[in-house]
């Protein structure tokens, strides 16, 4: 496997939970730390549960697995509860409402949702109805927190979502999207294509993206992020999504490649595929890979360098695995993530303003 010993231990036991048996105590020590830092500890806890291994774990390890499972089950329940509140707030609006990412996996009970830890709920509505949706949510207690005028403008003018909304009583966070990529992004896809193919979810009133689109969105999310904090978790999401959809439809790879071509998202799919091959040894039909590669039209340098950079950066940023090369790669991705989201003309003033803002903010807090 093309990754460090510790990261590969983590990826190995997630794919092959049987290998958790007889793991020595010092390996558990590293595993728990990495799993916690990459937000994958809930997944490990689910595996232990599935394999009925709890009683056989070292006594020092057991409480942490119990705690992780309690937390992930709670979050799963909390997401469902939150969706009920969303339904209550938005029921009267006759517009497409598409749940994204974790909320979508949970509501349709996909394998990818098991043991997953969440930050917030992501909801996609058409841009033309964004104001209506925001108003309806505000009536029920959600509001955009106390953020400055610059950040407001950053989100509303340039991004694919409005600033995060927080519920005044429950404190839960909601990201309201009108696109899956920033408006300023290179290759921003036509979002109508995604609305057209969305399928009903198990909760009436809400849709989720079609299977192929769900995978593409997960892949995009991965490569447009400036910080790969959840990079390993996103990779594992992709792995579970693809494996489950393949079980339901043997042609899934072909459908996925075609859909990537239609939506102009072949390049993130290509990079995702190379990560999955390198880090999880996923088997991808050669002709599919070649077609996606042709359609991605990456120049030679990017085609060679990008996969290498992401691979390095994906080593967990935990001190156990951190080194100069992975830190540099992560920095390159920070810049690249921003570059993909905004043209340079907007980007440099933005990053400079953020750097100065951090200094000023920290000073004010001191006073």
């Amino acid at each position: 496997m093309a990754c460090s010993l510790n990261t590969s231990l983590l990826l190995d036991v997630i794919q092959f939970p049987g290998n958790l048996r007889n793991l020595p105590l010092d390996s558990w020590d590293k595993l728990l730390r990495l799993a916690r830092a990459s937000n994958l500890i809930g997944r490990i806890a689910e595996s232990v549960h599935d394999q009925n291994m709890l009683a056989f774990l070292p006594s020092k390890v057991r409480p942490h697995i119990i705690a992780a499972r309690i937390l992930s089950l709670h979050q799963r329940q909390a997401i469902q509860w939150e969706i009920r509140h969303l339904d209550d707030a938005l029921r009267k609006l006759d517009i497409p409402k598409v749940l994204l990412k974790g909320a979508a996996y949970t509501i349709n009970d996909l394998d990818a949702a098991r043991g997953r830890l969440y930050g917030d709920v992501d909801l996609l509505v058409p841009r033309s109805h964004l104001a209506k949706a925001e108003a309806a949510l505000m009536l029920k207690g959600w509001s955009v927190g106390n953020i400055d005028a610059y950040d407001q403008r950053y989100y509303r003018q340039w991004m694919h979502e409005i600033p995060p909304m927080i519920h005044c009583q429950r404190g839960s966070a909601l990201d309201l999207h009108h696109n899956i990529l920033p408006l300023t992004a290179l290759n921003s896809p036509n979002i109508d294509l995604f609305f057209q193919n969305a399928i009903p979810s198990r909760v009436s009133g809400f849709a989720v993206l079609a299977h192929e689109d769900m995978v593409l969105h997960s892949a995009i999310h991965f490569f447009y992020e400036s910080e790969l904090r959840n990079g390993l978790r996103d990779l594992i999401d992709l792995n579970f999504l693809i494996n489950q959809f393949l079980k339901e439809d043997q042609n899934f790879w072909t459908l996925l490649a075609e859909r990537a071509y239609i939506t102009g998202l072949s390049w993130p799919l290509l990079l995702a595929m190379s990560m999955l091959i390198d880090m999880l040894e996923m088997k991808i039909p050669e002709n599919v890979y070649d077609n996606v590669k042709k359609a991605a039209k990456l120049d030679v340098l990017s085609g060679v360098l990008l996969p290498k950079i992401y691979l390095q950066a994906l080593q967990s940023s935990h001190p156990l695995d951190n080194n100069f090369i992975s830190a540099m790669s992560r920095f390159a991705i920070y810049i690249r993530g921003h570059y993909l989201r905004m043209p340079v003309k907007l980007l440099f003033p933005h990053l400079a303003r953020k750097a100065v803002g951090r200094l000023i903010k920290a000073n004010n807090r001191k006073k």
Binding site: D26, D29, P63, H64, I66, H318, P319, N322, R365
Partner: protein, 315 residues
């Protein structure tokens, strides 16, 4: 690597600082093993003072958490220096001014327990033990809980915790952690007069909480920190200037609600959390306690514990 064990005071400060700097030092705190790293002399000095009776290990095979207090890797290392707390390489909250680094270590561990240790039911409350039974003091702000806790801990009660009461989610048994007691503002002066033979960390001014410091736990409570005990009393203390002491029974349903409000992982535990609160309140006598003088408080709680002892012995 050979494992070295002992209590912190058996190490010279030089060796202790080196182990801490290299991230090899693991403190045993209650049932947790916390691997610590810091190159900041103020942090080393504070941990060496406050945890001097605690057992330690060097580079053990397994630690429950890895924590670090360090200067941020940006300009704030030099310009108006700050310190940040890291657990497993992650920074759960914003950095604080550098002189608060020792206190940050304590607050960081509180956060870590509250955020990750859901194998315990965690209540924002002090807890102490006497005759094998545990007194829980839940803490509405300004109640004087920590002051009361410090006074009791040095006068016949064994300190479990001044901030986080930890109950086993299987059987509600309380778990001690015998960590330093956090005192603020006037409480510091009151306890300095009241407890004369204790060890203190340096005071820090101008924090969000005002003037703060930590008081080392009594040696006996550290020695016995692995001995668990069942909760017996839940008492909501309230400091009222010039008041005469008064201990009055309070309603159990109301106590359930108030206790749940002070529980940090009540909603995460879901149904288990609800069942734990009701079991705990069923199991305990619940009181309100109003006081103004610590001497009165000591007497009241001694009577509470001893009358119980008499009843239990069949008198």
């Amino acid at each position: 690597m050979t494992v070295i064990r002992g209590s912190v005071a058996q190490l010279s400060f030089v060796d202790f600082s080196r182990f801490l700097k290299e991230g090899k030092l693991a403190l045993e705190v209650g049932s947790l093993v916390i691997r610590c790293r810091s190159i900041m002399p103020s942090v080393a000095k504070s941990i060496y003072t406050l945890y001097k009776h605690h057992p330690f290990q060097i580079s053990p095979d397994f630690a429950d958490f890895y924590v670090e207090v360090k200067a941020p890797a940006n300009l704030r290392r030099w310009y108006r220096p700050q310190a940040e707390f890291l657990v497993d390489g992650e920074r759960p909250f914003e950095p604080l001014p550098k002189d608060q680094a020792p206190a940050l270590f304590e607050w960081g561990i509180n956060w870590m327990v509250a955020a990750s240790c859901h194998f315990w039911f965690t209540i924002h409350a002090a807890s102490l033990e006497r005759n094998g039974q545990v007194l829980i003091l839940p803490a509405p702000p300004g109640s004087g809980k920590s002051t009361l806790c410090a006074a009791l801990a040095f006068n016949g009660w064994r300190l479990f915790s001044d901030e986080l009461t930890l109950l086993d989610i299987e059987n509600i048994e309380a778990q001690a952690c015998a960590r330093p007691i956090n005192l603020k503002n006037e409480s510091i002066d009151i306890i300095r007069r009241f407890v004369t033979d204790a060890e203190w960390s340096p005071e820090v001014f101008d924090t969000l909480k005002g003037r703060v410091t930590h008081l080392a736990p009594p040696i006996d409570s550290v020695m016995k920190m692995r001995e668990r005990a069942f909760p017996r009393w839940v008492v909501f203390p309230k400091y009222v200037a010039d008041a005469e002491p008064s201990l009055t029974l309070r309603s159990k349903p109301q106590s359930c609600i108030d206790l749940a409000e002070n529980a940090l992982n009540y909603s995460i535990l879901g149904e288990t959390g609800f069942n734990l609160v009701t079991r705990l309140i069923d199991h305990c006598d619940c009181y309100d306690f109003i006081y103004s003088r610590l001497e009165d408080a000591l007497l009241t709680f001694e009577q509470l514990a001893e009358s119980e002892q008499l009843t239990r012995n069949g008198f």
